[in-house]
């Protein structure tokens, strides 16, 4: 009895803020678009979901989102791992300032930071200008895939670094010493001791970057080219440009299912390897 009463607020919270909104989205995805306020009628039609799953336009958009998120995650991992390792192995008094430096950009507005990138990458901006001078011809950066990936990696890198740091800083330094003592040169110590023992951090970081990156809307909208029709952008235009709420909801539901499958698979592979 006592446990039930203690957990009651938690269940209420989950019900009101998580289950109910999702149920509403799911219900709308089964409705039909209509003129009026709100612009749909409830019902039980699978048309929108079927369109999302069959129409090549949406399929391409999903695949593109997964690809962009995947490549961004990989870039974050390749950049974030050395950074996290360097912080974890830095002298004690340097660690907190370095971590702070990683998190500092988050204390200013996200939109402001993305807009700052527009200034840097724009045709008249200093980065594009410098590259044009080096290349001896005009170099376009803004509204290209390069700008899109730059924005994604810039935004999500801390989500990779922090869990990696957490897992690397917990490694017993004596393990590295033991490996060295047994004749392993530095690269072998990394491959056989540091890397395998930091895999939980790698998995956590990849999930933390990949999931929000798949649904990202702002970065492709502000930095990416018109071809970068990622799911987030498509969803936005279904809602606000087409006023097709059931279609937008069907996209949202599909994205959610997709994103539940990915971490569940990672978890599954992980627990299989552990056995």
């Amino acid at each position: 009895m006592n446990r039930v009463s203690v957990l009651l607020p938690v269940w209420c919270w989950l019900l009101v803020l998580l289950v109910a909104p999702l149920a509403i989205v799911a219900a709308i995805s089964l409705g039909e678009a209509a003129d009026g306020v709100p612009p749909f009628t409830l019902g039980f039609s699978l048309d929108s979901l079927r369109t999302v799953w069959t129409d090549p336009f949406y399929r391409v958009s999903f695949l593109l989102s997964l690809r962009v998120a995947g490549i961004s995650t990989l870039c974050c991992l390749l950049l974030g791992y050395p950074a996290a390792l360097a912080i974890a192995r830095a002298p004690e008094r340097w660690r907190d300032p370095l971590l702070l430096a990683i998190m500092l950009p988050f204390w200013t507005g996200f939109l402001m930071r993305v807009n700052a990138w527009i200034g840097i990458l724009a045709d008249g901006g200093w980065l594009a200008g410098a590259l044009s001078w080096l290349a001896g011809g005009p170099v376009r950066l803004l509204y290209t895939d390069a700008a899109l990936y730059l924005g994604m990696v810039y935004t999500y890198l801390p989500f990779m670094v922090l869990p990696l740091y957490a897992s690397l800083s917990r490694l017993d330094p004596a393990l590295g010493e033991a490996a060295a003592d047994l004749g392993a040169p530095p690269w072998l110590r990394f491959v056989r001791v540091t890397l395998p023992l930091s895999m939980p951090g790698v998995a956590a970081g990849c999930v933390l970057v990949f999931i929000p990156a798949v649904g990202e809307y702002v970065i492709p909208e502000l930095l990416g080219g018109p071809g970068a029709q990622l799911v987030g952008r498509v969803l936005w235009s279904e809602f606000f440009a087409n006023r097709d709420w059931p279609m937008a909801s069907a996209l949202a539901v599909t994205l959610l299912v997709l994103l539940l499958v990915v971490p569940a698979t990672v978890q599954g592979i992980w627990s299989l390897r552990r056995r």
């Binding site: 004596a174 393990l175 010493e177 060295a180 003592d181 047994l182 004749g183 392993a184 040169p185 056989r192």
Partner: protein
Amino acid sequence: MSALLRVEGLTVRHGATVALDDFSLTIDDDELFVLLGESGSGKTTLLRAIAGFVPPSAGRIVLGGVDIGPMPPHRRPVNTVFQSYALFPHMSVAANVAFGLRGMDRAAVRQRVAEMLALVRLEGMADRRPQQLSGGQQQRVALARGLAPRPALLLLDEPLSALDRALRAETREELVRLRRQLGTSFVLVTHDQQEALTMADRIGVMRDGRMVQVGTPMAVYERPNCRFSAEFLGAANILPVVVGAGGQAELPGLGAVRVVGGAPGAMLLALRPERLRLDGGEGGNRLNGVLQASMYGGETLTHSVLLANGAVVRVTQALHDGLTALRPIGSAATVSWAPEAGVLLPS
């Protein structure tokens, strides 16, 4: 016996503090050398310097004729058993033991691992993870892992400190037996004097980054060369003494005693509690006092006797025949000893 390892004038600084101060030491082939000292005496620093984890600011470390000082840890033919064991948690026991075996084919590795696990009596545990083993078993895995690559020298950093009492006594014997069998020299670091006395072929007593005394356990215990050595290894009563000529000496406030050796002048007389007698012994030195306390220890009884000058000496009596009654506290007691039982130390 010939010298296996020579440490010459080694100095290690940690910031402003000097952990090892112009330190020299020779380790022979086929011996168990125990470095004994309090924490902060530099004994672990010495071990880490030999393994290559601590860069010396001066001095040489010569192993088998080769100066290993400039080599990184992974090139040095020494292995370490770490205090925390530092077993790889993501590898099986067999993979841990095989870690240091490189440049061998699979079959040879498998055979060596089996050999080492048999040596430490862990044959059935090859596929377990270290976390699934008891502390004693983990300690043996660490030992097998360190010995597997056939190091010229095995370094052991407080290898028994994480074990409980009963297991520690058993493991001491086991380590000594195993080392004799292999003939590999061990350098073992400990702060436990009992461990040092029972296991060592030679003991080095360390203090403040310097070697205080080196010798066999018997030599260091029976003939300490300074007050620190006498008090750190076992118990000792230390009395100031003025040594005269012809084996005569004066204990200030207590009277004349006979001593062996020593130079004329002020010195310290060290007396082991078990070499003293209470109300007995003939032909030796005698001091009168009052029994202040008696502590019963099962196999021994330790008396505290207050002497005329206010000094208290401890006398340990072995209870060969058991104990039925204690002497009354406050009764008169005479402490006696043979002159050769006392050791004269510089004051």
